[in-house]
Symmetry: C2
Subunit: 250 residues, 2 copies
């Protein structure tokens, strides 16, 4: 039966992938996704892999729909959660372009542990209060929109989680983002760079807004910016935890 | 060895709980948490359960630290993800009150699929763009702060996810929140009420801001408010999907 699963694979550590995701993968005849995510999945030899490049989300979504139309059971895979800057939105956008053709498709979105949740857990409890999750990329939205959102988020007192903070094509935007945030926030608010959490090349760097160095950040890094209610606990081993108070004083 | 695991159990469906969470539970000698979450865990008879009432998070955290100090392996459990309005922040707050005593404690936070991710997956892809996650409760912050954050979040164009939208003690705040949002947003932006997603008593209601009726919401409901970029796809079976465009026009 035609079926599309949109699957969040979790942050990378196999033990952080849900049984529900594994069960859906076990039903698939075809697995579609950005190459590195498709590579993360152990599959029997008879399953067809369709790895693709980054930034071809709509093509990939249409390909999945066409395969499912032919009666295949298609798994579209994303890292983390597919609904958070993953493939879920692109799939529904493709359906919405041709609703007469595709709105009766069986689609099941299977949530996963998103990168922001895995990074936060590794750091302590930095999301203890209200927070927002943004992509810093201006591939799909104007840079002015990104800056305006950063300003409003800081004014709101949200802890801010930034996906896609920096790439070779966009080396300077994270520094600009920190400048925007310094207009609103104290330079002492904690900042965390959480790279590839749960994977072999994991790296965690804790600093503050005054000292946040964009050069330490790459595309695999999740950047978290705290508030004045985000506290740092020093540990005897030289490590530290960050947590954000649940309470906001009057 | 003294150890505390802070575990996100996921939204309720057993297949949405990670193997990492199960492995940590298997090591525990003591399980602590709000009663209904402790009840969700299947445990051997020799494990001690310490269920407690709601809203005693700091007492519960201190209790966990004292048990671990005595050499127990303690699992603190939360629904969804423990870092998102769960027990993680309360634990670090308790540690921060007595750092000399507790900052050397072994603490491992194990992320889970949060309610907002499970609800979004059930709905389609409503978090396709930037979004924020807020608790609507004014137990721990002034109501004025909640309203100000709603206004700024709407101005920013964030999809808004509301935890703790309504309780018997706070019956009127969700209606006030909708009024605040109507000052900033078109009445046609989609709104979803996602109750107990993944559990037997799951209920999903899709509407828009003009027609959002707080009477349909209880404490187990996650409320999602979209933006002008959140679209509704009607399906032949009378159901619908919501998704938010990844792209923001200039």
């Amino acid at each position: 039966m035609s079926q599309i699963f949109v699957i969040g694979l979790g942050p990378g550590k196999p033990s952080q992938r849900t049984p529900e995701a594994e069960e859906a993968l076990a039903q698939a005849t075809d697995v579609i996704g950005y190459g590195p995510y498709v590579d993360r999945v152990d599959l029997p030899a008879h399953i067809t892999r369709h790895p693709s490049d980054n930034r071809v989300e709509l093509d990939r979504a249409r390909h999945a729909l066409e395969l499912a139309e032919q009666g295949r059971c298609v798994a579209i895979v994303s890292g983390g959660d597919a609904g958070v800057f993953g493939m879920a939105s692109a799939l529904f956008e493709a359906i919405d372009h041709e609703p007469d053709r595709w709105s009766d498709m069986n689609v099941t979105v299977i949530p996963g542990v998103s990168a922001v949740l895995a990074a936060a857990a590794r750091i302590g409890a930095p999301l203890g209060g209200d927070f927002c999750v943004m992509s810093l990329s201006d591939n799909l939205k104007p840079w002015e929109t990104v800056c305006r959102r950063l300003t409003l988020a800081a004014q709101a007192g949200f802890v801010i989680a930034l996906y896609n903070p920096r790439s070779k094509a966009r080396p300077r935007q994270l520094g600009e983002a920190f400048e925007v945030l310094r207009q609103e926030l104290s330079g002492t608010v904690p900042v965390a760079f959480a790279r590839a959490i749960g994977r072999a090349d994991e790296r965690l760097h804790l600093t503050d807004l005054d000292h946040a160095d964009p050069e330490l950040v790459d595309m695999s890094t999740l950047v978290l910016i705290g508030t004045t209610l985000t506290h740092r606990i020093e540990r005897p081993d030289g490590q530290a935890w960050l947590y954000t108070s649940r309470s906001v004083p009057a």
